[in-house]
Symmetry: D2
Subunit: 150 residues, 4 copies
């Protein structure tokens, strides 16, 4: 499947390290009970975020909760957006649609976010979630953010 | 808007009190840091669930996080389903679509779930979320659950 | 379920008759093969649109096609929007999510659109579709329109 | 982005030619006014379908209507499903979510469908729509089909 270049620049506005610092400093609730997310990669096309296994995300049977995956999809889209437009305050999710397609295995989850559209006022992302130790998809989400004037 | 009767019975399978006990006993992660949800009402048409204000749901500016609202929409659909088919293990969310339309005010949130379809294998719910002290909608979600053979 | 007043005015910007004329004159593809839609009602809270039974919407078994229902949901949201902000050119659908929950019976369909949010730049609608001769829902959709500066 | 192998077989159940014949014979409303769709490719991972430019899909300004794109997303998912499970009668769409991200250019559209999940009772597809003469996405859809026992 052909990749559409969304950004004519070959560099993101924030590096992976800068997005990590942004997450740690400006998004404290993301690490309310210890480190929750790790920014693995931010590019002009998307990004990759890890959700660390955590007791509070586990459902009976050892599987990871749906809300933990919805939060992961949302934060992945947000961090890809920040990386590509800079740390704009007040960008907000307007729509999130998620399909849960397989039970995740216990352990970390990896989300891959892809920029579908990066417009002036709206940005749309496709997010695919897999168990860290497996290629099989566990969820696919579409996330829309409204971008305030900046 | 006319209400469609989905259940020919005039009684739910579990009472509001039984759904409350189910939530407390079988869903411990819902009260991982103190009571999170309160079952206000379960009927044959839907149900009403309160999300208590909690520090970990607050975003900068005093607003409630999107993931907290997604979790509320999901648990509302789940509890309405349990109330109307009984505590079936392993019912799972297959799709959740949510529109965030206003910033919630600080304080509790109230979700009203409505049964759109209650089939043998799939159930669909409309969930409307409002601040406890306001009539204005903050989010609207559609949630689909797959029901295992029971 | 409590109705949220979205419009502080007690009158729509366009009457039901004016929306009908707008549909007929500015939206000719809607009647490409004879009258397709009828505007039954436009209010400050929403509106009601009929889809006439038409050979090209019928699927094997006498049921109405999914795409015909998606088009009905979209046009219902659009006409409710026009009725409440006036005939703004270039309002465009940005997201549509639809759940098909029952087979419609042969015959006309009626869509009821409800304004969930009517903002400056985005409007969100809930649309419920039923067979004209039945109370049972056949589909539920959420539709978002982007409103250009006007 | 890594491709997940969904089908352990290396061959589809129906060839591209067989899916074309199925479309022409069993889906007559798809060519109600002349040939509407062309099956370009069906694989174990997905498929590619062309929507021919047609007067009835054109909106003022020369752009292609949203409903025409929703129908294209739906039929793409359907034909990929048929190609991979055989011509099962009565598979029905249960959910479709679509983001419209750019105006298409006049001319044909190409939809690429990807199998996200192919289960026993539910199948989920990602569908990307582009103008035939451009790499830029115009829409992205997620489509869920319920598969009857077969």
């Amino acid at each position: 499947m052909q990749v559409t270049t969304v950004n004519s620049n070959d560099r993101t506005v924030m590096t992976t390290e800068e997005v990590t610092a942004f997450l740690d400093n400006d998004f404290p609730e993301a690490s309310y009970h210890g480190k929750t997310y790790e920014v693995l990669e931010i590019t002009t096309q998307g990004g990759k975020i890890r959700l660390f296994e955590h007791e509070r995300h586990i459902r009976p049977g050892g599987t990871i909760s749906g809300p933990a995956m919805m939060a992961l999809a949302d934060v992945t889209a947000y961090l890809v957006l920040m990386g590509n437009i800079g740390p704009v305050a007040l960008a907000v999710t307007t729509n999130l649609n998620i399909n849960f397609v397989r039970k995740p295995e216990p352990g970390d989850l990896i989300a891959e976010g892809e920029i579908i559209k990066l417009g002036r006022t709206l940005a749309v992302f496709d997010v695919r979630i897999r168990s860290a130790n497996s290629d099989a998809l566990v969820a696919q989400a579409s996330v829309t953010y409204a971008i305030p004037k900046h």
